[in-house]
């Protein structure tokens, strides 16, 4: 520890004002502050500060992703081998999955952080931690066989257009991870949708059917998986989204630490369940007849609710607004799922749409407060 600190301290003067690499200071500081909480003290305002900072918040979210991530890698291998009819051990599955998945993480972080660092250096501001989470989310919501160059371009689009164009971390309107997914979805549709992308090698090996549950239902076929499979996640899908159990573990961690909003999560589940119930009552096709509570288990619903909808920057910011925002995400996700046969997965669209509406929701919630204040003023003037 002491050695690392000393090394940083040794090279720090080069990056300080007037140093040789002054311009690169944001990059150097990013590494320095990642290793050590800086020795900065309070200059104004409160003299003592809470132990939480943006790094801690982001790392907490990443820790919450770990169960879904590890299970997801295992599931990549499991789906591949089991569809081929080959037996494998736990380790075989995990290794197969890691070989497929880790390059995606590397590309995502490499491209995304590269752009963030470049912006930090050129604009001379500190590098924000926001991408630490986005960079992990993006590979988790992509099909496993997505070519890495497509992933890289999607990431670049998300960071440049989805985030930096709006002013960087904290200013973006849309969730950057979903911007990446939406970009890939519309630009590289054959690699992003259909029944050949959700299991590794499904496109090249005939024996493998990569059909997801929602895909089958959309074609009025049977779901083909047991409820336990859906809950545990032994189903095809993008890496992070399949295991509801693992996502719930992450959700529990996020709620326990208070990092993610329980209001958004609760609102989404209520909204999704309600829409599911309505469709069950109508019951016109396989998707509508799919039990409402199973709707909450399949597809990207659980993952979206826990990790995407709760992104504080793109979500509603007021407590009441969070309920409304969450509720409509759940509602719209199931509605899009059922109505749009060509695109059975509605979660991404629902969240992006509500991202856009979040400031409007907040506006009306805040107007309520303002109206109360004005009314108080008026009655006060009348009685006076």
């Amino acid at each position: 520890m002491k050695f690392i600190r000393n090394t940083f301290d040794k090279y720090k003067p080069l990056f300080d004002k007037g140093g040789k690499y002054e311009k690169m200071a944001p990059a150097f500081n990013a590494f320095d502050t990642l290793m050590f909480v800086p020795n900065h003290t309070t200059k104004q305002g409160a003299h003592i500060r809470d132990g939480v900072d943006l790094k801690r918040v982001m790392i907490t979210v990443i820790l919450a992703l770990v169960p879904a991530l590890i299970f997801g890698m295992w599931n990549v291998g499991y789906q591949h081998f089991s569809q081929l009819g080959e037996a494998g051990t736990f380790i075989d599955y995990l290794i197969y999955g890691s070989v497929k998945f880790i390059p995606m993480v590397v590309v995502s972080y490499g491209v995304g952080l590269g752009i963030e660092f470049a912006f930090g250096v050129f604009r001379g501001h500190d590098i924000n931690e926001g991408y630490l989470v986005s960079g992990m989310l993006i590979p988790l919501i992509m099909p496993i066989d997505l070519p890495l160059w497509m992933l890289g371009i999607s990431v670049a689009f998300a960071v440049l257009i989805g985030k930096e164009a709006f002013g960087g971390t904290g200013m973006n309107i849309l969730n950057p991870a979903l911007v990446a997914r939406a970009f890939a979805f519309f630009s590289y549709a054959p690699s992003m949708s259909g029944d050949k992308v959700w299991v590794s090698d499904a496109a090249t090996v005939d024996a493998i059917s990569g059909e997801t549950i929602l895909g089958s239902l959309a074609q009025n076929k049977e779901a083909g998986y047991s409820v336990l499979d859906m809950f545990m996640g032994y189903i095809p899908g993008s890496v992070g989204e399949t295991s509801v159990l693992m996502i719930l573990i992450g959700a529990a961690f996020l709620l326990f630490t208070g990092i993610a909003s329980w209001r958004i999560m609760a609102g989404s589940v209520i909204g999704g369940a309600l829409m599911g119930l309505i469709f069950n009552a109508l019951g016109l096709n396989a998707l509508m007849n799919f039990p409402w509570w199973q709707h909450l288990l399949v597809g990207g619903f659980a993952f979206g609710v826990v990790f995407m909808a709760t992104d504080p920057v793109s979500a509603a910011q007021t407590d009441k607004g969070k309920w409304i925002y969450g509720f409509f995400i759940g509602l719209l996700a199931i509605m899009i799922r059922v109505f749009n046969g060509a695109y059975p997965e509605g979660m991404m669209m629902a969240i992006l749409l509500m991202n856009v509406f979040a400031p409007t929701i907040d506006h009306y919630v805040i107007q309520g407060n303002i109206k109360r204040r004005k009314k108080r003023q008026k009655t006060n003037l009348e009685t006076a």
Binding site: I4, A46, H47, T60, I259, P312, N369
Partner: protein, 450 residues
């Protein structure tokens, strides 16, 4: 009649080094200073020159914008220095104290028999008007305004805060006299908020006693105002600290201005935290001598959330401060300090990423480390958790940053003071300086709306 107010939102931070309830007389300081920075928005107009002899209560300067508001000497002695800063701004009027005080006599009187004008004149003449603060804007009140009500909070919930009931022991009569004087200053009520601890405060006459319970900032007068009678645009309410009420009362009882109060010297780096009787503006050297044995500490005139950093040598006690807090400086690196739950015994957090919330009664030794770097506002909801006033703190802060006057007014800038945002400073994961921002916002409003 009394009503109960319960403050649910907020955060009580317990720190090590609470002052023990014994009072010693602080050694008499040889040097005193009145610092205009303590009176926000006041541009001083001097009435004394270097070398002038002053008694306690003699005017040192008055406010340029309102000549009625005078600032008087807390001690008798000789003016030795007018300290100036950039653009010749006056930083301090320094007085070398004589060994004995001579008091200017303002005349004894029973406030209950005096008229509003007589009381106001006496308070203004003696310099006690500086104790009367105004909301909105958190500045010294304008005597020409009509106050809707006057609020006194008898307790402080900030970390290490002094116990005013203890500090005012023996001064009950002066406190009552001060309250009597305040009742004449407003057509509305004088509210005195008390906490659950039984004290003489609840027996005070001529006031509306309000019971307030709950977490910090329950003791902040601004929070109490927002629950009792929120401020509307154009309205003025006044606030006075309890120890200052007693100083005003003393003025009527003895006819003399005696800005003496009991101060808590507290914090983890103080050898024996306890109370001292001090005089406003006194030099800190004699008070702090041999009381702190460590280097690398921060001495704060005021509490750790809202106070001002002071130096050990040559600095002075803030005019309004009831506490000196001494905590360690945090100018050290912490390896991978962002890891949740690690170091919960020394890292306090309102978020649950530290187990500190499981130990609400543990007294923490917190230092001045910023615990991160300033960032864009990302996390939402954390400010609201510590903001009991019915406003949207983050939106208000953003309105101030955008200098949007109409929005600030709509979002309730009149109802807040910087101290109400101290916990926002504390809990913000983006390390924003909410108190500074709110102060700027209030200053904009003073200039634009008045």
């Amino acid at each position: 009649m009394s009503e109960d107010i319960r403050i649910k939102k907020g955060l009580t931070i317990k720190l090590k080094g609470k002052a023990e309830e014994t009072i010693s007389a602080a050694p008499r300081s040889g040097i005193f200073a009145i610092q205009p920075k303590d009176f926000h928005g006041v541009t001083p107009k001097l009435t004394v020159k270097v070398g002038a002899e002053v008694s306690v209560g003699d005017v040192l300067f008055y406010s340029k914008s309102n000549e009625q508001i005078k600032f008087t000497s807390p001690v008798s002695g000789t003016v030795t220095e007018i300290r100036r800063g950039a653009k010749r701004r006056i930083l301090a009027v320094v007085i070398e104290a004589k060994s004995e005080d001579q008091f200017k006599n303002f005349g004894k009187a029973d406030p209950l028999t005096l008229s509003k004008e007589e009381i106001q004149a006496k308070i203004l003449e003696s310099g006690c008007w500086s104790f009367v603060n105004q909301r909105p804007y958190d500045v010294i009140a304008n005597p020409e305004d009509e106050a809707k009500a006057i609020f006194v909070s008898s307790f402080d919930t900030a970390p290490l805060a002094p116990n005013y009931a203890f500090a005012l022991k023996g001064k009950e009569a002066a406190f009552q006299a001060g309250i009597n004087a305040l009742t004449k200053l407003t057509k509305g009520k004088v509210y005195l908020s008390v906490n659950e601890t039984a004290s003489f405060f609840s027996k005070t006459q001529n006031v509306e006693v309000v019971n307030v319970k709950g977490k910090h900032p329950a003791g902040n007068v601004g929070v109490q105002i927002s629950k009792i009678s929120p401020i509307n645009a154009g309205e003025r309410v006044w606030t006075v600290n309890p120890q200052d009420v007693a100083i005003i009362g003393e003025l009527f009882l003895s006819g003399e201005y005696k800005p003496n109060r009991v101060l808590a010297l507290a914090g983890s780096e103080v050898n024996a935290p306890q109370y001292y009787s001090v005089t406003a503006g006194q030099g800190l050297d004699s008070l702090l001598e041999n009381k702190i044995n460590k280097d690398n500490v921060r001495i704060i005139s005021g509490n750790v959330l809202t106070g001002d950093k002071v130096a050990t040598n040559g600095d002075f006690l803030g005019f309004y401060d009831n506490i000196i807090s001494v905590i360690p400086e945090g100018n050290t690196h912490r390896f991978m300090g962002w890891m949740p739950f690690v170091g919960s015994g020394s890292i306090h957090s309102a978020s649950k990423t530290s187990f500190s919330y499981l130990m609400p009664n543990k007294e923490y030794t917190l230092n001045t480390n910023l615990q991160g770097e300033e960032r864009a506002m990302v996390v939402t909801g954390e400010m609201e958790k510590v903001m009991p006033i019915d406003i949207f703190p983050m939106q208000l802060i953003k309105a101030v940053l955008a200098k949007d006057i109409e929005k600030m007014e709509n979002l309730g800038i009149y109802e807040v003071a910087p101290e109400d945002f101290a916990l926002v400073d504390y809990t913000s994961s983006s390390k924003i300086e909410a108190q500074t921002i709110i102060r700027e916002g209030l200053d904009i409003m003073i200039n634009e709306v008045g």
